[in-house]
Symmetry: C2
């Protein structure tokens, strides 16, 4: 593994855990097992290192989101595939959702920056599809944007609010993960039941 990779992975871990402001360059260096000057040699400064890490992190999630937006499946199929693949993926990176949401809120300029990327998830197509399936009488007449919010909420929130949730409903990490595993199917069934005509 190259030094650059060691730094990157260390930074990924530290930033994810502490956020941009909370992360210390020294800690990243220690975690990577190299000298602090090396950080600035490989990645000019904290901002650039963070940006690399952040964009990479978001890049890991974007495909899961794009899947739901771009594929040719029916709404039902899309929801099933999305919840399943998103939860499966994020169970391996349990802190990713909170990390992204937190930094997006703390640096609103990131939102506009990421929206400019060409692979930006664009929901307009999905919204049209929902409107269409409503017209066809497959779905109940609902606001497509609300449905979209539902899908994200039910899938992403448990991970984003992990600490609070675990504390509140009193579950260990194992039980939590099991709940999330169960949730793959559960979300799909709940949503379908509530929108199918």
């Amino acid at each position: 593994m190259t030094t650059e990779e060691k730094i990157f992975e260390a930074a990924f871990r530290v930033f994810q855990l502490k956020g941009f402001k909370g992360a210390r360059m020294q800690e990243i260096a220690d975690e990577a097992g190299i000298n602090k000057a090396m950080l600035h040699y490989c990645f000019k400064n904290k901002e650039l290192l963070f940006e690399a890490v952040f964009m990479n992190a978001f890049g890991k999630l974007a495909p899961q989101i794009n899947e739901i937006f771009k594929s040719q499946d029916s709404i039902f199929e899309k929801i099933k595939k999305f919840t399943d693949s998103y939860i499966s993926f994020v169970m391996n990176y349990p802190f990713l959702p909170q990390f992204i949401i937190q930094e997006m809120n703390n640096n609103p300029e990131f939102v506009t920056k990421f929206l400019k990327k060409e692979n930006r998830p664009d929901p307009t197509k999905l919204i049209h599809q929902i409107e269409n399936e409503i017209k066809l009488g497959i779905l109940k007449p609902i606001n497509p944007k609300q449905l979209l919010i539902d899908i994200f909420s039910m899938t992403v929130f448990p991970f984003a609010a992990q600490a609070l949730l675990k504390g509140m409903i009193q579950v260990s990490n194992e039980e939590f993960m099991q709940l999330m595993e169960e949730r793959k199917k559960y979300i799909y069934e709940q949503i379908i039941t509530s929108i199918k005509k």
Copy 2:
């Protein structure tokens, strides 16, 4: 307004916007229109000031949550009241949910600390109630914890992930607030449809 109150409100604003690590004592002092030394005179140090602000913030939300846990209403009634009161309340403090989730994740010791408070929201009663209504055949057989997660997810997530969401589905702040207004009823209807037998 006393100096202490001025400081507290300023700290509330700054911490909410920048988080614990991101907030600067000088900024809070400026925002409060007083000298930095005054902060340390009134609230010994950053941690204590933050703790005061954070516990107060959580205290604002706890009643909304306790309502759903403690009242004598049916599940249906509880969900209706919760979504309505929570969203109404949080529309006046749009950054509160993200603030609390963020700091809970960044300082896991807060979770245990807040769980010790006597007014801690305890969902066991609600879970029993759900199990009971399932037995009575009012609700479909679902995992009560999943239902609880749904309620929180659908209500809290849009606020917690505000920046990302607004960017992704391309809505202005006004449109967002309108969606949230609409959501008070919407969530209730969606959930009821999906769990009513």
